[in-house]
Subunit: 193 residues, 2 copies
Amino acid sequence: MSRTGRRPGGPDTRDRILQVARTRFASRGYDAISLRSIATEAEVDPALVIHYFGSKEGLFVAAAGLPDSLPELFAQLGQLPREEFVQALVLGYLHLGDSDASRNPVIALVRSAVSNERAATMLREFLTAELLPVIARFTRQPDARLRSALIIAHLMGIAMLRHVLRVEPIAKATPDEIARLAVPVIEQYLREG
Amino acid sequence: MSRTGRRPGGPDTRDRILQVARTRFASRGYDAISLRSIATEAEVDPALVIHYFGSKEGLFVAAAGLPDSLPELFAQLGQLPREEFVQALVLGYLHLGDSDASRNPVIALVRSAVSNERAATMLREFLTAELLPVIARFTRQPDARLRSALIIAHLMGIAMLRHVLRVEPIAKATPDEIARLAVPVIEQYLREG
């Protein structure tokens, strides 16, 4: 151990950071926990946490078992021209859910949230802090946040019927078949006037 | 006990029928179980089951703890003129979910379905047999069932964000505030051409 009491990097260190993050996010939620406080508890430099995970968002995504590509996907979505945004959001989301049906990360999160109040808090705060603002920027309506939450609701409901309840024909439809119907409908939420 | 081995009616009989129904629906699903087979197992005349619950749908609704008014609500929805249907569906659903937040029947069903494969089967078959066809009759599109399933997905997602994750501003919005945005969007799914 170094003079400052901080441990050097390495696979064990990365795992230790993740373990601390899981415990802290689950006990206090996403908002209340800073990247710095997780670094302190894991006895590492905050710069090392940034090095491994990029941001608090990236750390959450890794701790929750979501794909590493998610923060980059959110960032890319935010940069899209408005007429491409919903299509990219819906297809990105459907492919995320379909990527590995046996270990579907969206469903794993929803399952924990339904059975566990702390997991629900964690997911709520993550969606509110990281996904909702990305969507809300695509409309100038005064109720942009309610519109964005309704879009998230529709996407989450699609995953519920597709992967949890497996209601046909939504369970066997391809992402393109779903997107063809859902994209123009969801776009309505972001339309002006 | 009467000569036929069938027991007379009464509160105990009603409870016994419900108990048999819960066990049978949970073990074999909604489709595979007939009202008659539940009557036989509960040792009552099928007419008594009809007397208490109206139909297999009514028996399921009572066994699942859903409001008794649900079969009537579905029947009324099916009779509405098309331009009133989605508004009535969305508001009926939101008031159902809000009627008793502490013992929300929609959420109780979703919670069981997420954690229990048999409950998922039961809810899937009930939605597919009783709600999906009511919605699908309001459009002549060839993919009417996929459109209807997407509408159910949106409604279920609203309940998830509103009551399970409690994402703001959807959790505190009134049914009217949600309906004002969601009804015209959902109506798109049923539009021709």
